[in-house]
């Protein structure tokens, strides 16, 4: 009898121990981002400082985007407490009801462009689509505007544009047709497609990933291309003969969300509030070319002045660029992409 009681005490103690584990885990959140050097930079800029300040553990994972979030939420198997997405994905996922509401009592939204502050998603960083050309082909007289890129007589050479990022390519095409940067949105899709139609016969490669765009330019497979500024910056740092600027760039934002049913909503909210705070935002450009989403980051004094001019979201550079409208593409993405594919696959 005594022995049996002893056994049951041990069992109960064991059960209690297993129950106690989640109580400790309450201070652990999982954040998913795109991996690679970008996520490494985020780790140093956002995750480590936030974990230290809040006294929590931040585990990391990588995501492929909205499909992953949809799979987790609809399958009731939410692994992440915070995940990064493209702004248009956030707008679409929001419409599908995949995210938790954000508490702007905890998250301070001042300094963030209101277009990137929503009930259930908030901007986190910026990438720009820029025009890059090889200086060993053009010297410093390469194509400077998208209209130049479209001008095959004046600038002969091989060209690459993105086919996977149809919305970015359509914004670029609208700029190429001569629209000033403040008239691009709302995008006249048929007009932009007409513009794509003019150049598609001269496009030697349609890229589908940032690495591919970089390789095409680096190996001289093409002489000019649309490319993400982070990739362009890396090429320049590696010493490739290239030139690019933020003139007529297309600014696209990334955002962060708390997937619906996240296990640790409260800790996630506090961590997210820290990620978008000017202090941590100012860390990001110290490690990577993706610009901070909070413009107050530039007032913290953390970013060296000579670095500021190279950051895509510095106030000076933002003026030269078009901001991708996430909500416009939420409503027009499918139609525009199908039309775009029909056109370029002729």
């Amino acid at each position: 009898m005594n022995r049996i009681r002893n056994v049951s005490i041990v069992t109960i103690a064991g059960l209690m121990a297993t129950v106690a584990v989640p109580a400790i885990a309450a201070d652990t959140i999982t954040v998913a981002s795109w991996g690679g050097t970008y996520q490494e930079a985020q780790t140093k800029a956002f995750f480590d400082p936030a974990a230290a300040a809040l006294g929590i553990t931040i585990k990391q994972d990588t995501t492929n985007g909205l499909d992953d979030v949809r799979l987790q939420v609809t399958g009731n198997a939410v692994k992440w407490d915070i995940t990064e997405l493209g702004a248009d994905e956030c707008a679409r996922g929001s419409k599908e009801g995949l995210f938790e509401k954000l508490d702007y009592g905890v998250i301070d939204k001042s300094g963030i462009n209101p277009k990137l502050v929503h009930d259930d998603w908030v901007g986190i960083s910026y990438t720009s689509v820029v025009l890059i050309y090889r200086t060993d082909v053009f010297g410093d007289k390469g194509p400077k505007t998208w209209a130049d890129f479209w001008n095959v007589e004046k600038f002969p050479g091989r060209r690459a544009l993105s086919s996977s990022q149809s919305t970015e390519t359509l914004s670029v095409a609208a700029l190429a047709s001569g629209l000033p940067i403040d008239k691009v949105y709302p995008v006249d899709i048929d007009g932009a497609l007409k513009s794509v139609d003019k150049i598609r016969g001269h496009v030697d490669a349609w890229w589908t990933s940032g690495a591919q765009a970089m390789q095409l330019v680096k190996d001289g497979e093409v002489d000019m291309a649309s490319i993400w500024n982070g990739r362009a910056g890396t090429l320049k740092k590696e010493g490739a003969p290239v030139s690019f600027s933020f003139d007529q760039g297309v600014l696209t934002a990334d955002c962060m969300v708390i997937p619906k049913g996240a296990k640790n909503k409260e800790a996630a909210m506090k961590a997210l509030a820290m990620f978008v705070s000017p202090q941590l935002q100012a860390n990001l450009p110290l490690y990577v070319d993706n610009g901070p989403v909070n413009e107050k980051a530039f007032e913290t004094g953390k970013i060296p002045p000579e670095r500021i001019k190279d950051i895509n979201s510095a106030p000076e550079n933002v003026k030269k660029q078009v901001l991708q409208d996430a909500e416009f593409w939420r409503d027009n993405l499918v139609e525009a992409t199908e039309k775009f594919n029909n056109l370029i696959q002729q």
């Binding site: 985007g65 909205l66 499909d67 949809r70 679409r92 599908e96 091989r158 086919s163 996977s164 030697d204 490669a205 349609w206 890229w207 589908t208 591919q212 390789q215 095409l216 190996d219 001289g220 497979e221 993405l333 499918v334 992409t337 199908e338 594919n341 029909n342 370029i344 696959q345 002729q346």
Partner: protein
């Protein structure tokens, strides 16, 4: 008397035979059941990992993004011209690559089968070695070789053979070269295995009866190698239809194959059905084509096989 006894014996024989046959039939049935029982774990596994997911795929493809029963996922193929184009491209690439694999693989397998054992195993290593290297690595290696400033173009320009670089990468030719290299072992290995089983006595007998080397090859060796060729062709063709990495990297976005389309469609529509429908269409068309293959090639090949 003797006649009568024969008659009696005959009847007894007949009943005996009847009994015997019945016992044999029962035995055969028991044997069949036993075999089925032995097979049932694997049948169950096939059901669980093939029939159920494919059925589920088909089921998913019937719903639109609001969750309502609809044919919209299939209607898209007719509304958007690019789907039909992608479909045609996929089969075009599959046919070209399979053809290239046969043209390169058949002579190679033939040579391997005729070499002495030791030499053949050394040569086989060269066939299998690339097989162990990642597809991604091999595809990038081809990019380095084929692109505008790649090895082939710079050599040819340096040698003065050409003045303008040849368009070898980021188009159909790049995709075909890359895929042929990756898929060649899938043709060579089954073909080599079947060629090794061809009885050399048959060839000697043919020679003995006055057939020259060409006639021996054409009338004896080639027909006997057909089953191996058929299985190699089917494997290569089916693998081609689902290829993703190589066309995505080597096609320069101008050769869109079905698997790439599935990826695009799945992320474009907030609905698994959109991608599932593409899978169902590819599966149906592939099965139909395989049936045709079987009918055209398989029947002849198995005919030859059984006549041996």
């Amino acid at each position: 008397m003797s006649a009568q006894s024969t008659l009696v014996n005959d009847t007894a024989d007949a009943t005996g035979r009847d009994l015997n046959a019945r016992a044999l039939r029962a035995d055969a049935r028991r044997e069949e059941l036993r075999l089925l029982a032995l097979l049932s774990p694997s049948l169950l596994l096939v059901f669980a990992i093939i029939i159920v997911p494919v059925g589920w795929l088909f089921w998913l493809s019937l719903f639109d993004e609001t969750g309502a029963l609809s044919a919209s996922n299939y209607a898209r193929f007719f509304e958007q011209a690019s789907y039909v184009r992608t479909f045609i491209t996929t089969f075009k690439v599959a046919f070209i690559v399979t053809g290239a694999c046969v043209l390169l693989g058949y002579p190679l397998a033939y040579m391997l089968s005729q070499l002495p054992r030791r030499a053949a195993s050394i040569c086989l290593i060269f066939v299998i070695l690339p097989f162990w290297t990642s597809v991604l690595v091999r595809t990038y290696a081809w990019l380095v070789i084929l692109q505008r400033k790649g090895l082939i173009n710079s050599w040819l320009i340096d040698l003065g053979v050409i003045s303008q670089p040849l368009p070898l990468a980021n188009n159909l030719s790049g995709v075909v070269i890359g895929m042929t290299h990756i898929l060649l072992p899938f043709l060579v290995l089954p073909l080599y295995a079947s060629m090794k089983t061809i009885d050399t006595d048959c060839l000697r007998a043919g020679m003995n009866l006055g057939a020259g080397p060409v006639a021996t090859f054409r009338q004896i060796f080639f027909p006997l190698s057909l089953p191996g060729l058929a299985s190699g062709v089917v494997i290569v063709f089916v693998l081609c239809l689902g290829f993703f990495v190589t066309p995505a990297l080597m096609g320069g976005g101008k050769v869109i194959m079905w698997a790439m389309r599935m990826e695009q469609t799945t992320s474009l529509y907030s609905n698994w059905g959109a991608g599932a429908a593409l899978g169902v269409v590819l599966l149906a068309v592939t099965l139909a084509l395989l049936g045709l293959f079987q009918w055209l090639l398989g029947a002849r090949a198995t005919g030859v096989w059984s006549s041996r």
